[in-house]
Amino acid sequence: MVFSSISFLYYFLAVFLGLYFIVPKKFKNSILLVSSLLFYFYGEPSYILIMLLSIVSGYLHGLWIDYKRNTPSAKVALISSIVVSGGFLLFFKYTNFFIKNINQIFSFKIPSLEIVMPIGISFYTFQILSYVIDVYRGDAKVQKNILNFATYVALFPQLIAGPIVRYTTIENELESRTHSLEKAAYGVWRFVIGLSKKVIFANSLGEICKIISKSDESSVFYYWMAAVLFALQIYYDFSGYSDMAIGLGRIFGFHFLENFNYPFISKSITEFWRRWHMSLGTWFRDYVYIPMGGNRVSKLKWVRNILVVWFLTGFWHGAEWNFIVWGLYFALLLALEKLFIKKLLDKTPDIFKHLYVFFFITVSFVIFNANSMGEAIGNIKGMFGLQGVPLITTEALYYARSYFIFFIIALIGATPIPAIVMKKISSIKAGEYLIHIGKPATVLVLLLVVTGYLIDGSFNPFLYFRF
């Protein structure tokens, strides 16, 4: 099930929100767990067992680590947990990739297993791993109640597309949390904003990208338009989902950490990754990069660490070469920035810093969005006029004109400008009134408009589902 669907909004959410707030406190986690399992079952009926097995494995390994604490067996338990959880991920997500490449390299004919990846496996596996590692390190207390642990892993607001919520973030709230009108209002606001980002912006941007990809009239302008619009689409898609997750979490009394912080205003690639998919970045930093020595090692080892982390980051996003190249592309950019460009960047006017980030991020998403490296190279060549296509065509011009206002609104919406404007308005007395009246009115209008978009449109994939 996806948040941006009629079934979720007007059936699932309505029913379970009601139940959640009606039942006594001691049953609230049970309601959350049951609803989360149903939520998952709705989208992946057959793979719910894989998730349940992962949960049981994570739970038992946590107990084992705790039981054998300060003995070598604890390390064995940790490795065992990583092998089991990582094994599920490797098998379901990467088997076909390995078979395909082994066949190509060695001319074997190993048949593909035709495995379909369980939705959300990358997210819940990383959550389970963070839990067992934190228990092993002593950063988190072992969870002895399997219902609470299962609720943490399966919690539907963040189950299938993140953010990756660390166990330590909601450890206390799993046991005891408070609910308030203020939290509910904030949650509703974040949820509706996220829903609108996804349904009104990401889906519409996706439709334009689809029109461009299907067009017979290629042009340099079209290649750029597709690249820029996809970068915006993936931002609205993923940050919208994160907003919805954070909002729903808050309604249920949880405080999930932010996952996006206006990444497109970054002035360096390093800054971009501090603002984009922050939960994944910090996961790799804390569980891979720092344990390998981080940057407190020789330059050569540091380069190795960067390459390993970004190889894994790319590979986490998908079992295709273009994702690996995408990860390594950032490894190269970050290494170059740190070793050579940083000083130069510091002296450069902001506008050039933004252009620099805009250019390399846009190109990165062309690699990311391609179905193969061949397609990615073809699209990048097209952007630089190396595909023998005209600069612009009638069709490209038409869609540029037609979507111009939408594009400008989408662009502004991806910056802190709306938040700054709201803050300015609320700093004056009349403005404060306006905000108090405006928020509920905005919730009402956006909910109705989103419903209109959902009913009218069929284009509604969550891009981060595939990861």
Binding site: S5, I6, S7, L9, Y10, Y11, L13, A14, V15, L17, G18, Y42, G43, E44, P45, S46, L181, E182, A184, A185, V188, W189, V192, I200, D216, E217, T394, E395, Y398, R401, S402, Y403, F404, I405, F406, I409, E432, Y433, I435, H436, I437, K439, P440, V443, L444, L447, L448, V449, T451, G452, Y453, L454, I455, D456, G457
Partner: protein
């Protein structure tokens, strides 16, 4: 305090909307058909364990929820309104409105398809029509009159006509482009309005020299309202529906239509179809692969065969006055190679190929 009230209203509004619409959806009866979208709506899927486990049952429910959502048309209208008036997008799902007339973008010109259409016409001629009087007429779609002038994507109509003229052999081309204007078409539908194409019918008849055998000179105008054309539902905007104005007389009332496939008889104008899923089916019962209409007042024995699309349904009654019989062949539903199973091509007759530009640009549907 103000913050608390604002929070309370925000939460209340949210819950009112989701619970209000949940209850409304639960109590509102399911609809079988959406007349504005001219299609059957999804029904609740029947339960089976296999379909539950492979996800099909739940997918069925997803479609059911979307189709049966209360105030579905109003919500679709809200989306269209947002796209047109807030984002100022030129079209919504390819649909655009100029001066109250609804259009659907058709772009780009598919030259291969147009060439395929020309080849199909030649194939029919070579197989069945050698030696007959054959004409070809192309009906411009509504975009021809408006799109380019208002900055919308438009087909290269000159190129399309050039391909057709230079590739279609043994046929006389009748130019309809200069005789039609946008007012000759319905505002909410793809088709031309019958009361506006009497001159087109006369032009075709005089092209075949059949105007001198006209069985009647006058018509009585009758009208049917409201007519929600095929673009009406797609536009999702609250526009005024059309009126079907049709031309009739004693002979047309008595004319009998024979369906060669179903082996049934019917009438030229089928009032019972008006108000159904597609009210345009009022003309000659809509999409039918092979029909013959007989003129009870014919002043000639000559017959006409029209290879046609849906535009042919409304002009056929007007052409009937010059012939004893008019046969309508729709190659979208009937294969070219089996036509002689149903029709006797040895009879001396006139033949008209009458297709609109949208069919030529998507001609692979011609069998």
């Amino acid at each position: 305090m103000k913050q608390k009230i604002s929070n309370a209203i925000t939460v209340t509004v949210f819950f009112l909307v989701i619970y209000g619409l949940l209850i409304a959806n639960l109590i509102s009866p399911d609809k079988a058909i959406s007349y504005s979208e001219r299609r059957e709506l999804a029904k609740a899927p029947e339960f089976s364990y296999e379909e539950l486990l492979d996800g099909e049952w739940l997918k069925g429910y997803e479609k059911y929820f979307l189709d049966q959502f209360v105030l579905r048309d109003k919500f679709r209208g809200l989306k269209a309104f947002t796209n047109y008036y807030l984002f100022r997008e030129k079209d919504n799902n390819g649909i655009y409105v100029v001066d109250g007339v609804i259009y659907k973008i058709e772009y780009p010109l598919n030259e291969k398809s147009v060439l395929n259409a020309a080849k199909k016409l030649n194939e029919v001629y070579d197989k069945y029509l050698t030696g007959k009087r054959v004409s070809c007429a192309i009906i411009p779609d509504k975009n021809y009159f408006t799109a380019e002038e208002h900055g919308y994507l438009a087909l290269d109509y000159d190129k399309m006509l050039e391909i057709m003229k230079s590739n279609v052999k043994n046929m006389t081309y009748i130019d309809l482009f200069e005789h039609l204007e946008i007012d000759d078409y319905y505002k909410t539908d793809i088709h031309w309005s019958q009361d506006k194409i009497v001159d087109i019918a006369d032009l075709i008849l005089s092209g075949f020299g059949q105007d001198k055998y006209a069985s009647w000179d006058t018509y009585e105008e009758k009208s049917l309202y409201p007519f929600y054309g095929s673009y009406y539902g797609q536009s999702a905007l609250n526009l005024k529906p059309d009126t079907i104005v049709y031309l009739t007389n004693d002979a047309l009332e008595k004319a009998v239509v024979y369906d060669h496939i179903d082996k049934t008889y019917s009438r030229v104008y089928m009032e019972e179809f008006f108000g159904g899923v597609d009210s345009y089916d009022f003309f000659m019962s809509g999409a039918k692969s092979l029909l013959t209409v007989t003129n009870p007042n014919a002043k000639t024995d000559r017959e006409l065969i029209i290879f046609r699309d849906s535009f042919g349904s409304s002009i056929a009654p007007l052409l009937l006055k010059g012939y004893s019989k008019v046969t309508l062949v729709d190659l979208r539903y009937l294969r070219t190679d089996i036509l002689d199973n149903y029709l006797d091509f040895s009879v001396d007759c006139d033949v008209l190929f009458l297709y609109n530009t949208l069919i030529l640009n998507n001609s692979y549907m011609l069998k």
